[in-house]
Symmetry: C2
Subunit: 232 residues, 2 copies
Amino acid sequence: MKEKKEDRRIGRTRRLMHEALMALIVEKGYEAITVQDILDRADVGRSTFYAHYRDKDELLLSCFEHLRTLFEQQQQALFAARRTGKDPEVHFILELFRHTRQHHKLYKAIAGKQSGEMILKYLHRDLYTMLIGPLTELIRNKKSPPVPIEITTHHLVSSLLSLMTWWLDNNMPYSAEKMDEIFRILTAPAIETAFGRKVEKKEYESIAGEHPSGSVNAFYSLFVDSGCCPDN
Amino acid sequence: MKEKKEDRRIGRTRRLMHEALMALIVEKGYEAITVQDILDRADVGRSTFYAHYRDKDELLLSCFEHLRTLFEQQQQALFAARRTGKDPEVHFILELFRHTRQHHKLYKAIAGKQSGEMILKYLHRDLYTMLIGPLTELIRNKKSPPVPIEITTHHLVSSLLSLMTWWLDNNMPYSAEKMDEIFRILTAPAIETAFGRKVEKKEYESIAGEHPSGSVNAFYSLFVDSGCCPDN
DNA sequence: CTTTTTTAGAACACAGTGTTCATTAATGAA
DNA sequence: TTCATTAATGAACACTGTGTTCTAAAAAAG
């Protein structure tokens, strides 16, 4: 399974540069960092850096992909555990907030306001791609929604990322569960609208409750049941 | 009133540089632009540029402030017209979309994805400052909201900007009125929640209607009635 | 017309990027 | 351990872009 013919030095050098960049982003912000800063912090040679990455952006992207792999592996594990029936339901958004808290230093460097804006665009694009399919599927047989599905999806992703960065940049004053709840309260009605259904008062109230397992969850469980996670 | 002791050359030079930057942003994106590009396009000397602006960012900021002034003047005029009772109600969000359409080339350069991310942060900060006060005032006597007012405000501003940039970057496929309606559908329920009131089905349905003048509008008319616009 | 202010243009030092190459060191396989 | 292979080092280099300075010329104001 594992292709382990990689030189140890490569992994070590890459790890050093990752760590250096993450630390520097938190300290002075991505834009202000020079390649020389990274070399000094990681204590590697200039030519070594360019042997691994084309430029600063590619290093940051590499850090981002590392974090995404971490999350995907954890999702895979949870997904597998769920299939055995031993675990409760897994909700993508909640797990994302939990993973963020668990690796908050990495997330803050990568998704916080100190990081490069480029990363947020990648995150947006990735989440958009994950969402647009299942959401389109869900409204297939419904009447045409009052808001185009592309805009709704775009709005949902922007809202999620906006909450994430707010949470990180304000030192996570609330629990992951609370953030998940906040996201639901702020966006669930819009999702119902996009699905073309009326919002019943009873349903709406249930949104503010603690993780209801009613129809509102249809959206959230999408991320687990529809195989929208990459590499599935 | 007007302090017109400014040398004609100053205005001309500044205008040339503004125009050059706007055009270049649309062409190749803000980050890729060098000072030399601006000098060539505007046909001004290098020392002239630095006599007016510290750097590229300050020039972009100057363009942004120019646009904001344009909008504020128009708002002032509408506000005045409304006081005479000759005009229908003025809604901040709708007027912002209308102004965006009216000056879409400027807005696309300044708020589109090709522009510097710095500007979106300024826009976010400005809108947040405009919103947070009136929103806090509105929930003063209500029960404590399920979502902190700071987060709700942050979310609203992010949603608005996300819609704005989507609209601009997709060549404005919908009318300003439609965008205003979309913004209401996607965010009004969250506002009601922040206000601590239950959303009645009748009210909710009215959101999707054409610019209802019911209680949902309490939020939107804030921008007109509460003097939250700068320089009032 | 005279004074004041702005602009032009070239020269400059400086900071940061990305490349090259000969040398040294670490690695992993035999 | 030996040894061929691969990676890291570090210094030198050309290059691009920034921001400053200075003198001469042009334009505006009075």
